[in-house]
Symmetry: C2
Subunit: 223 residues, 2 copies
DNA sequence: GAGTCTTGGTGACTATGTCACCAAACATTC
DNA sequence: GAATGTTTGGTGACATAGTCACCAAGACTC
């Protein structure tokens, strides 16, 4: 087993697989790469494989027939594209789009192998169902936020999360509006209000939180 | 095999199971009943079993911490509560609530049996993943509607669907507002507008479509 | 028939989304 | 480096949706 085949160990849920199962998974899967910005799956482009993300982030979003977009969830390294698998096993077209937010390395597992693994390994089943559970919980949360939470609260929350590592959040009003499923103008006005209060500073293509505690305080309203 | 054990045949996806699997499913499951209005599962009340609905309808809805409610989807006879199963296999608390909308008969399958069935039967796996797929597609649709569709369109659509069998829809403004995740006042005003246009008639606890074609026409805007 | 609960109505207000623009920053090209 | 196009953000006017604080009529209970 070379180091490239050690990827299974990066998945906490998969390290408990027994040795034959690990070998099956390694032998029958293939490492694939996607460039930043690539469309990994989308309507009319059903994925043939289940992906285990080794590195990078996939953003899953939906485009309404009105042309509006909203981010549904993200798949990070160490997680898998289970929802694509579910939908790949069914008739329906998958109505969401997966976009490589960074360069992405992933292990692609064909659906037949996926099926075999689900059949023969309890740890693998647990992994799959836990992954489903996380995604569905995420979706419930999105519904709650879109339907019932105030936009200023959601935006403050988003800014806090985006700025957890950096001082300066490199994003545009347009991108923020897709994150929250709203219009660009609404984001622009809300950011102006935050700026007026001295909570952030803005530049073209970036937002810099100055008073994170105030943003956090607003984000905590109904969370 | 008495007729009570023939329930598997009512599930199109399960009729393809082989005989030993059918027997396992029948022997290890139990028929349960819920009265209309009963809470079948909810936060802090994780279901121990997977349910196969033999008769009746389960309404699955979410209550926000702001006190607002929204209907997520319904489980009809012939379908199963897969999402509860997913969440039951994971740590998270299930944040949605399942309410018996009518009297409900169901077959309850313990999680250990569910796991065995997933392991040993491909048709059962297909059934489970197809059910997942349907639910997730439903959730995507809810997100799209809540985030991007106009309320008059959504209300017209809901009225058309509710009146497919009956002339007179027995519901309250409050219930309609929960269906769409909005406020009662908003529904009241929208229904007044429909009434003003001569599309519906209202009475306490009921809405009667008069001009379904107009409602349908509005409902078709962005669907 | 007096209370009480459910259901629905209403005005005033706030929040959010839409539309049609404009203008500055930036990138590209010659 | 001037001309040009693209991206990003700003703005006013307006439409739609949600909130709040009430009120009132029907229905149900005692």
């Amino acid at each position: 087993m070379s180091n490239i085949s050690a990827w299974i160990e990066r998945f906490p849920g998969l390290s408990r697989l027994d040795q034959p199962t690990k070998e099956l998974l390694l032998n029958q899967s293939q490492i694939v790469n996607f460039a930043k910005g690539a469309t990994i799956f989308g309507p009319g482009n059903s994925p043939e494989n289940m992906l285990f993300l080794l590195d990078g982030t996939v953003r899953v979003q939906q485009t309404s027939d009105t042309g509006h977009e909203i981010v549904l969830y993200r798949i990070e390294a160490g997680q898998s594209c289970v929802l694509t698998t579910a939908c790949l096993l069914s008739y329906d077209d998958y109505s969401a789009t997966g976009i490589a937010e960074t360069a992405v390395d992933a292990a692609a597992v064909p659906r037949a192998v996926f099926d075999t693994l689900v059949a023969q390994s309890k740890p693998f089943r647990d992994f799959v169902f836990a992954a489903f559970s996380k995604r569905i919980t995420d979706l419930f949360l999105v519904i709650d936020e879109v339907a019932f939470q105030r936009l200023d609260v959601r935006l403050a929350d988003k800014l806090i999360k985006l700025s957890s590592n950096t001082d300066r959040v490199a994003t545009t009003h347009q991108k923020l509006s897709i994150e929250l499923g709203t219009a660009r103008e609404v984001i622009s006005r809300q950011l102006q209000e935050f700026q007026r209060r001295g909570w952030i500073e803005q530049a073209r293509g970036s937002v810099t939180p100055i008073d994170k505690s105030q943003l956090q305080k607003l984000a905590n309203h109904n969370t």
